[in-house]
Amino acid sequence: MIFSLFGLSVLVFVLSRVLPGDPALMLAGPDAPKWVVDQLRIQLRLNQPLYTQYFYWLYDVFHFNLGYSTLTRQSVTLDIIQTLPASLELIGLAAVFSVTGAFALGVVAGRYSYKWPDNIVRIVSYVGISIPAFVLAIIFQLVFGLWLKWFPVQGPGTNAVDQVYHMVLPAVALCLGGMLQDARIIRAGMVENKDKDYILMETAQGLPERTITFKYLLKPSLIPAITVMGLDIAALLANAFLVETVFNWPGFSQLGIRYMLNKDLNGIVALVLVIGIIYAIANILVDIVVAYLDPRIRLMERGE
């Protein structure tokens, strides 16, 4: 994990320096006299070899100095501090929706497999997995925002309750695809385990059905679902870029899109780095949860 973050930093750095476009020229503007550009180039150490530049850059990154944004006219670190919380709130709410929804739908579909609840979940999830998040976001805006007027169309709220109210539509648009995919994985696990001998034995012993469903069917089905949730986090982080733009949510991802459209190199580099770090942390958490749930891994580490 540390290694891939290091590799990522090299990749991002190379990307920002090798590809066409002169950062000094971009910072100074097209009308700047040549001596200004030259001086800026020396100031930004662009005249030095690439690996020297990389180490200077890495040194800066470890001191939380990600450079100056030409778009917002302030330091990128400050930008991140100002906008990241809004994004994390939205992604957090989406993750909560995603997990609860996936459990509910998955258990219902698995319990009533091959009956009508299962069929409905299956058809909905086929379509839901195929709809891109930004398409869903716009459709939600149109249907629930403009036509039915149930939810506000854009922007942040004024107080805590209003904020959550404003987050409902974007969060659902953000998480729906991943939620449905997880539901199908939980369902598949439950259906697979249904035919196992230990379930037959428990049924024969007269255990209540609820105990069987939740304790013995659901639990082993959770492990593959949670493993896949690592990928869902990637989906949430990525789709946030589109959904925040649609709903004009003042988060880091929307700022990221503005960085990109303005070719703000420092901003783009910081963006990829921050997303990479969040993703890495999320994946470590998923690994820990899986290890905790799977008795084979949990007990092995205790040496039993």
Binding site: S4, G7, L15, I131, F134, L261, I268
Partner: protein
């Protein structure tokens, strides 16, 4: 975007008994629907100038007296803010989407698979470490984020969007192939080939590769949908195809500004994207099922 996981690599059958596979495939209504829709979109995309009711509306064209007409008999899906027929633009949009998918996959699959084969064959050596570490590097960030960033550093446009998507998509093929090769690396037929003194290129391409085709083929089909999704997402934020290119993502984005005046501007392109992705997902699931079930 979501990456579809292909589970149960060991269950993939390796036999190419086409007749049998086709029988299995055609038994499943969902797979058949997927096949029919995806073939239909490909045909429509190829024949776009003949199928579209107003082919000249695809590019720069203005007819302000007929701007923002609701769907009706003249304009089946209505017209946009410049008076262009939405249906015609969607049909030409299929062209861009499918072309993008074809180009990206053609650029990505061969190198990705070959790198995966090599890394899997030389498992445990420095070659394996090098290739897989570089692949991990690209996978350390969600694909869309990296594609957006690369597209942003380059100049926005259809070509650069394809480059950006290709640049971050190959590691998924390397990983998939690597895992598949790992599963069969120590099978007897591979060992036999080595013991008999076959060259490593023979062992890799004639013995191992044919046994990896099932998962790869499945992923290629599923990826048509995802590449289209990524491409339209790039266009949607303005880093892919630029107006007046009739790209589905661009159309949804432009329509988003006219939500109050004309819902049809957004809804129809949105449905078109969903339909095409759904079709290739169903097709991919069908292909996976015929490979997996036969092996049971």
């Amino acid at each position: 975007m979501r990456i579809r996981v292909i589970e149960n690599l060991r269950n993939f059958s390796t036999r190419f008994d086409l007749k049998r596979k086709w029988y299995r495939f055609s038994r499943s209504p969902l797979s058949t629907i997927g096949l029919v829709i995806s073939v239909a979109t490909v045909i429509i995309a190829f024949a776009a100038p003949f199928v579209a009711p107003y082919p000249q509306h695809a590019g720069l064209f203005t007819d302000f007296p007929h701007a923002l007409q609701p769907p009706g008999s003249t304009y089946l899906f209505g017209t946009d803010e410049f008076g262009r027929d939405v249906l015609s633009r969607i049909i030409f949009g299929f062209r861009y989407s499918l072309m993008m998918a074809a180009v990206v996959l053609a650029l990505v699959v061969p190198p990705g698979v070959i790198l995966g084969l090599i890394a899997g064959y030389y498992r445990g050596t420095w070659i394996d470490t090098l290739i897989m570490r570089v692949a991990d590097m690209f996978i350390a960030v969600p694909p869309l984020v990296l594609a957006l960033s690369i597209a942003a550093v380059l100049t926005p446009g259809v070509f650069n969007a394809m480059m950006a998507v290709s640049l971050m998509w190959w590691p998924w093929y390397t990983r998939l192939t690597y895992n598949t090769v790992s599963a069969i690396r120590n099978e007897y037929f591979v060992q036999a080939s080595e013991v008999m003194g076959a060259s490593s290129s023979h062992t890799i391409f004639s013995e191992i590769l044919p046994n990896c085709l099932g998962p790869i083929l499945t992923k290629v089909t599923l990826d048509v949908g995802w590449v289209i999704l990524l491409g339209s997402a790039l266009s949607f934020v303005g880093l892919g195809a630029q107006p007046p290119t009739p790209d589905l993502g661009t159309m949804v984005a432009e329509g988003g500004q006219y939500l109050r005046q004309g819902w049809w501007l957004t809804i129809f392109p949105a449905m078109a994207i969903t339909l095409i992705i759904l079709a290739f997902n169903l097709l991919g699931d069908g292909i996976r099922d015929i490979f997996v079930e036969e092996a049971k």
